[in-house]
């Protein structure tokens, strides 16, 4: 079938409002601010409700993954709302370019728009794989820098908030502080501040200290990690407010950050060449990028530890954690990263894990559900429950399964409290503390 759909042109930058589906509320506010600085008019969608999924079901093949149904449903719902001038509205969607169905979301969106009578609304692709080159939406260096900063800040604030809020003596303080910091950073972006390496490293410390200042009462709680297909892992719309539910069950939640996924994509570029052959310079390039990002990660981790928080493993360590379980060649969807994150969580004290995926998610058959038995064999403490999400899966069934996982976690907590020996967290099998000098490339 011929491709003929409106493109997002350079001119539209000044005339059109770009709608963005929400995935991670904290991060996306800052990403939106980053885009605004570049002169784009953007709005992160907040519409939810059953009509979103219903519209998705109506206009997208029902066996398509749930995130596609939701994201497209959310767009259509917004377009139908009458809030936007349809002549001057554009949509932005991410495209990973991998072998998973997700690379096709943009095409499904365009098909759906056509069928729903919004065929004239342009769609821009946000990707790093060189797809859709003729789009007027272009990544520039300043924008890229702000995006990276937004993700780092977002990951840090999310982690600190999650480690603080279950224990705070006055409820709501951590949440408020998180919002406050997001606003501050958005303001900085508009003044072209806050994105230099030096500023960021200083800010990491400030943020961590601020959270550390919140009065808390640390009592043992069930610590739950969340991994999964990226959209249902993060998006409250996709996972029936999983984070909120876990909080209501008196758990501490750990959602590994978004930067891990970005680095995973970068790392895969090098690995693809390593595995299948190609220009070695590509490996050097991707590894150099990872080295660059590792600098930020390390100072972020330091800031967290200094303020008395648990810091997640650096990506360079993280990517070793799946060794012996799954190969780094497994790069579709969340691929080996998902497996590695489970190991990182288990060995980081978050042995109770929700592995979230859309019903029938192809990559997760392998890197999620497929790897659980091996993780359990190596780390017997691992208490992992896979949860499927789809338009009609009822929260009651999902919650029941999660409650089972929490019960087991609670029981262990009690056992540990009653046993004289201090509780031991299993160490990762892989050798860690990766030296950046060990990475391939020119030194």
């Amino acid at each position: 079938m011929e491709q003929n759909y409106p493109r997002f042109t350079q001119e539209m930058k000044s005339t059109h409002t770009i709608l963005i589906p929400n995935m991670l509320p904290l991060h996306f506010s800052m990403l939106a601010a980053a885009l605004e600085c570049e002169g784009y008019k953007v709005e992160v969608l907040g519409n939810c409700g059953s009509q979103v999924a219903q519209l998705g079901l109506k206009y997208v093949h029902n066996d398509t993954c749930y995130p596609a149904l939701l994201v497209i449903g959310q767009f259509l719902d917004a377009l139908q709302s009458g809030k936007y001038d349809l002549e001057h509205t554009a949509l932005l969607i991410t495209q990973t370019g991998g072998g998973c169905r997700a690379s096709n979301y943009i095409h499904l969106l365009r098909k759906a728009l056509q069928r729903a009578g919004y065929g004239n609304v342009p769609v821009a692709s946000l990707n790093f794989s060189g797809l859709e080159k003729n789009s007027g939406f272009q990544m520039t260096l300043p924008l890229l820098k702000k995006c990276l900063a937004a993700i780092f800040y977002g990951d840090l604030i999310m982690a600190l908030r999650n480690q603080t809020s279950p224990y705070e003596t006055t409820k709501g303080q951590a949440k408020q502080l998180a919002e406050q910091w997001v606003n501050t950073i958005c303001g900085w972006f508009h003044q072209n501040k806050g994105t230099s390496g030096k500023e960021m490293k200083q800010t990491f410390h400030k943020i961590a200290q601020d959270f550390a200042a919140i009065p808390v009462k640390r009592v043992p709680k069930v610590k739950v990690g969340v991994v999964g297909e990226i959209y249902v892992k993060y998006s409250p719309l996709g996972n029936n407010n999983l984070e909120e539910f876990l909080a209501s069950q008196d758990c501490e939640v750990n959602m590994p950050g978004l930067m891990g996924f970005v680095e995973y994509c970068i790392s895969n570029m090098g690995d693809t060449i390593r595995i299948y052959g190609g220009n070695v310079a590509g490996i050097w390039g991707s590894e150099a990028l990872l080295k660059y990002l590792d600098g930020f990660e390390r100072s972020m981790g330091e800031a967290m530890r200094q303020a008395g928080f648990h810091a997640p493993a650096r990506f360079l360590d993280l990517r070793k954690m799946a060794d012996g379980i799954i190969s780094r060649g497994n790069k579709m969807g969340e691929g080996w990263l998902l497996t590695a994150e489970m190991v990182e969580l288990v060995t980081g004290g978050y042995e109770n894990i929700v592995c979230a995926q859309p019903f029938g998610c192809l990559p997760n058959h392998i890197c999620g559900k497929g790897m659980i038995s091996r993780i359990r064999a190596i780390y017997p403490n691992a208490n992992i429950t896979p949860i499927d999400y789809d338009p009609s899966a009822t929260p009651v069934n999902q919650e029941n399964r999660i409650k089972l996982m929490i019960s087991v976690g609670k029981e262990r907590l009690l056992e540990q409290a009653n046993s004289p020996a201090p509780s031991s967290v299993q160490e990762p099998v892989a050798k860690l503390e990766t030296k950046v000098e060990s990475l391939p490339g020119i030194h």
Binding site: F359, H365, T394, P395, N400, S407
Partner: protein
């Protein structure tokens, strides 16, 4: 005193323990979804009769107890956890607990690393499943168990989902298989489902406890578990109450039960669910609607004095048998509609005899049968014609609305929709893998909630806030209803919600329409389900159009069959139908045998009728019927199987390499065989897939929603291990070969990485060398280098030059193999054209060649007189196709190219095979359809899974051929 309450999906259970933890009171009752009410009553009763007003330690468990417990401040215990608490106390010696509940199935491993497993989002293989199946067999659950006790054999039934099982059981019923055998097969299916779905590779050994309703009440189910697990499990005392007892043990708060009951009363559960607009705003609206639909009626007249000539139409459907008798002017003389009690023949015989009796001079001009039992009726009563049900329905609909452009028929468990263009069926939608929202579904629900189906449906008409239940599978619907009940939805609103979801399912799931305009404006709705005015109204509302519902909506198949017979009848024709005397003497004998003519070992059902006439069914090929072999067929699938089977093991100079014949190996075997043979390895392959092989491997499948071809891989690994192979080669491949037909050349995630899953989950691989490294055949030069590195890790002394040579030979063999397919396609096309045969491209993936995956659909097409080609043998005729989706998978690029090529060939059509759970096909099917439609072709999709109902496939294919014939006639 301790009290434990277990509120499950269908029952409420309770125990009271005394100070010595002895059970002094227990109950087990169905709650009919009146959860709060029942719980309240129960607590009050306990407070009075058992506790004499004293407080007790109380905790609540069970899937339906969650919200309730939160609402009244009683501690809640997750039910699997409660079982564990109870098992640890009451049966410390137990190693494994298997517990089946209403909608849950659980396995608890207690010894050697405690683990709890519980079914995912699928409720197949649970109590609800057994209940549904019992309903289908018109038995109570107890009768089902009794029947199964006398079984002689078991059939293969899918239990993954009640829907699939139904489609397996229905043909068995129609073929007259013994009820006991079917019942036993149902239990066996539950056993397979539990083990496959929950054990996930962990062996079930030692002392096994059976808990929960289904295992307590069904002795045969326990026996099936014992036999399959090769052990003797125990169903302990209080097996129904383990969860409740666990809750009682767990309880750590003393409470006054009266007060709790009081608190429950106060819980406001209302208005807490998503609702949709009511079906009718006002009574007047309903009356207008009702009056409008009364108009579409067919004239009913009494039999004329000369009693004929009449045309009889019989529609032997899945759940009902319908008969219509019309005169030469298409007036309706007689109708009959009754439930199909398994065997339609006695019912039809009764009706025909009644006709002869009441009208001794009856002149029958034709007898035409349709539906599932079409052949059976035709053979048994010597009918004149059989007609595929889609055509029968179209014929009838046209009678009411000559320019009808869309027909939707919702029957007992099937849904048929067809689009009509230029007076012929241009597109057919059947619900193949899913019967959600069909009539029998509504019926099952009505019964589960304690209502008659008519009464139940009528309840919904004036519901104020119909529940929004979504549009998914029956099983999910169960949980949605459960949730809605918990949220306080009234029975009226649930009924309306179910009716609306039937419609949504039809429109968005089966037909996949976005707007009514897409379907047409002149719509006839039919099938028994549309007698339900709530469904009818919901359909009109959802579509935004007024439709025609004939007053004989449920008889349209029979009416259409009669009309069809009338149209075919010559002037003054007398039917070949059995005479009154022959009917009187009619006998039917049913025998089940296994055909041993080939490796398929089809289960044949042989019906022998009075006079020695026979009907053989259940066969995959013509051989048991006509003795003919399939040799002369033009079948590319058979040719591919032959080619693959010709790769035999060479000498084992360096050793032996085993290759599992699964997924992409169906295409790459020629490459790897040549490659390794040349390196001096004997290459042995796993044998041809069988059902038994699948079952043997199923315990290690970690994800029960992955596609069947992937699941089969576990059986192949097991088979190789059983063959004593110690080195198995099955590489991961992100990329496929680049045929320059798409924007990229990926494999789908499952094909690319399934070896990873096998490596981690198959216990047979322990101690063996499993080479599952990542290789890239798309870069030949790099491949040689990388492959040399990989092999050097596993073997000594393989030189790089050897690998290079072997790889060259591998590529050569692969190319030669693909060329053979293309040459054969040319040859077959030529032969087909000489013989005037239709050419069908049965498009799928290379692994659809596996007979266990395609279920013999290729042979079925040949039996219909078509030549069968594959997508990879014709794709090269087309250029790279411009798609609206990202064309990035090699296999799928071929699919698009093959579709494009079909549009250029008048005698060539495409049928797409889609494996259930194939996420990629959610994208390719729509695209393929668009390519075909743009080229003026029909699009046919067949969803296949572990088990496939060939009956439904057959209807689909016959309808396709009928439509193609009609198209050809129009074209001439």
């Amino acid at each position: 005193m301790r009290v434990g309450l277990d509120i499950g999906s269908t029952t409420i259970k309770c125990v009271v323990l005394n100070e010595q933890d002895q059970v002094i009171y227990d109950t087990y009752e169905r709650h009919g979804s009146h959860i709060t009410q029942k719980a309240q009553e129960l607590l009050q009763r306990l407070a009075k009769e058992q506790l004499n007003g004293k407080p007790a330690y109380l905790a609540i468990s069970g899937s339906a107890g969650m919200g309730l417990a939160d609402g009244c401040g009683v501690p809640f215990v997750q039910e699997v956890f409660a079982t564990r608490v109870a098992a640890k106390r009451l049966a410390p010696q137990a190693d494994v607990v298997i517990e089946l509940g209403g909608e849950d199935a659980k396995i608890l491993f207690l010894s050697g690393g405690t683990e709890v497993r519980m079914n995912g989002s699928c409720a197949g293989g649970t109590g609800a499943f057994i209940d549904q199946m019992a309903t289908l067999l018109k038995m109570s659950p107890e009768e089902l168990n009794q029947a199964a006790a006398n079984a002689h054999k078991t059939y293969t039934i899918a239990s993954r989902c009640g829907v699939f099982a139904k489609s397996d059981i229905q043909p068995l019923i129609n073929q007259g298989a013994a009820a006991g055998d079917i019942a036993a097969s149902i239990y066996q299916a539950v056993v397979n489902q539990t083990i496959a779905g929950l054990a996930q590779g962990r062996p079930i050994q030692g002392n096994v406890l059976y808990l929960g309703g289904p295992l307590t009440f069904n002795s045969v189910l326990r026996k099936s578990f014992d036999e399959t697990l090769e052990l003797t499990g125990v169903c302990p005392e209080h097996s129904l109450h383990f969860v409740a007892m666990g809750a009682a043990f767990y309880a750590d708060k003393e409470m006054d039960l009266e007060q709790v009951a009081h608190a429950i009363e106060k819980i406001d559960l209302s208005a807490d669910y998503t609702s949709q607009p009511p079906l009718f705003e006002k009574q007047q609206e309903y009356e207008e609607f009702h009056a409008r639909h009364l108009k579409a009626s067919v004239p009913c007249v009494p039999f004329g004095s000369d009693c004929g000539p009449v045309h009889i139409g019989v529609d032997a459907g899945s759940t009902t048998v319908k008969v219509a008798v019309i005169d030469d002017n298409a007036n309706l003389l007689f109708t009959d509609y009754q439930p199909n009690l398994g065997n339609p023949l006695p019912l039809v015989r009764q009706v025909l005899m009644q006709l002869y009796q009441e009208h001794p001079n009856l002149k029958v001009a034709s007898l035409t049968s349709t539906g599932y039992g079409e052949e059976l009726i035709k053979e048994a009563f010597r009918g004149d014609n059989g007609v595929v049900e889609t055509v029968a329905h179209f014929t009838a609909a046209r009678h009411f609305l000559p320019d009808v452009d869309f027909i939707i028929d919702i029957g007992g468990q099937d849904m048929k929709c067809f689009k009509i263009e230029d007076g012929a069926i241009s597109d057919i939608f059947l619900n193949e893998a899913c019967s959600s929202g069909c009539g029998s579904f509504l019926q099952t629900f009505a019964q589960a909630l304690g209502y008659d189906v008519k009464e139940f449906a009528a309840l919904g008409l004036f519901a104020d806030k119909p529940v929004d239940l979504g549009s998914r599978c029956t099983v999910f619907m169960n949980s949605s209803v459960k949730q809605a009940q918990k949220d306080g939805a009234s029975i009226q609103n649930i009924s309306a919600g179910l009716s609306i979801s039937v419609v949504k399912n039809a429109i968005y799931k089966v037909i996949r329409a976005a707007s009514p305009e897409e379907l047409g404006r002149r719509i006839v709705v039919q099938g028994g389900t549309f007698y339900n005015e709530a469904v009818l109204r919901a359909f009109e509302k959802e579509m935004g159009v007024e439709v025609v519902r004939p007053d004989i909506a449920g008889l349209m198949g029979a009416f259409g069959a009669a009309l069809h017979g009338k149209a075919l009848a010559k002037q003054g024709q007398t039917s070949t139908m059995l005479s009154a005397k022959e009917l009187q003497e009619f006998t039917q004998e049913i025998k089940n045998v296994q055909c041993n003519s080939c490796t398929n070992h089809c289960q044949l059902t042989i019906n022998t009728f009075a006079g020695g006439r026979k009907l053989i069914s259940g066969n995959r090929c013509e051989k048991p019927v006509s003795g003919k072999t399939a040799q002369s067929d033009l079948n590319m699938y058979a040719y591919k199987q032959e080619l693959l089977a010709s790769y035999k093991a060479g000498p084992a100079v360096r050793g032996t390499i085993g290759i599992p014949m699964c997924l992409n190996m169906y295409e790459l075997l020629p490459f790897w065989h040549a490659f390794f043979t040349n390196l001096g390895f004997a290459v042995v392959t796993s044998p041809v897939s069988t059902r038994a092989m699948y079952i043997k491997g199923q315990a290690s499948i970690p994800s029960d929603t992955v596609c069947f071809p992937a699941k089969l891989a576990h059986g192949h690994i097991r088979a190789l291990a059983d063959m004593g192979v110690t080195t198995i080669f099955y590489p991961c491949m992100s990329y496929n070969l680049d045929e320059q037909m798409g924007d990229n050349h990926y494999n789908c995630p499952v094909v690319a990485y399934y070896p990873e899953v096998l490596a981690v989950n198959c216990p047979e691989l322990e101690g063996k060398t499993f080479i599952n490294e990542y290789v890239g055949l798309h870069r030949p030069r790099d491949f040689k280098k990388k492959m040399h590195e990989i092999l050097s890790r596993h073997f000594d002394g393989i030189k790089k030059s050897e690998v290079e040579r072997a790889a060259d030979l591998g590529y050569a063999e692969y190319n030669a193999h693909m060329q053979k397919l293309r040459d054969k396609a040319d040859e077959m096309m030529q032969q087909a054209r000489e013989q005037g045969k239709r050419i069908i491209v049965l498009a799928g993936r290379p692994y659809h060649v596996d007979p266990e995956v395609n279920h013999g659909i290729d042979a079925l097409l040949c039996r219909h007189g078509a030549a069968v080609l594959t997508e990879d043998s014709v794709a090269h005729y087309s250029e790279k196709v411009q798609t609206t989706v990202l064309n990035q998978w090699t296999y799928h690029s071929r699919l698009y190219a093959a579709a494009k090529y079909c549009t250029t060939q008048p005698d060539m059509d495409l049928v797409q095979l889609v494996s259930f759970g194939c996420g990629v096909d959610a994208i390719t099917t729509d695209e393929t359809k668009e390519i075909l439609h743009a080229g003026g072709k029909l699009y046919t999709q067949l969803k296949i899974d572990e088990i496939t109902n060939l009956g439904a496939v057959n209807i689909r294919l016959r309808s396709l051929f009928a439509a193609l014939d009609e198209k050809d006639r129009k074209g001439e």
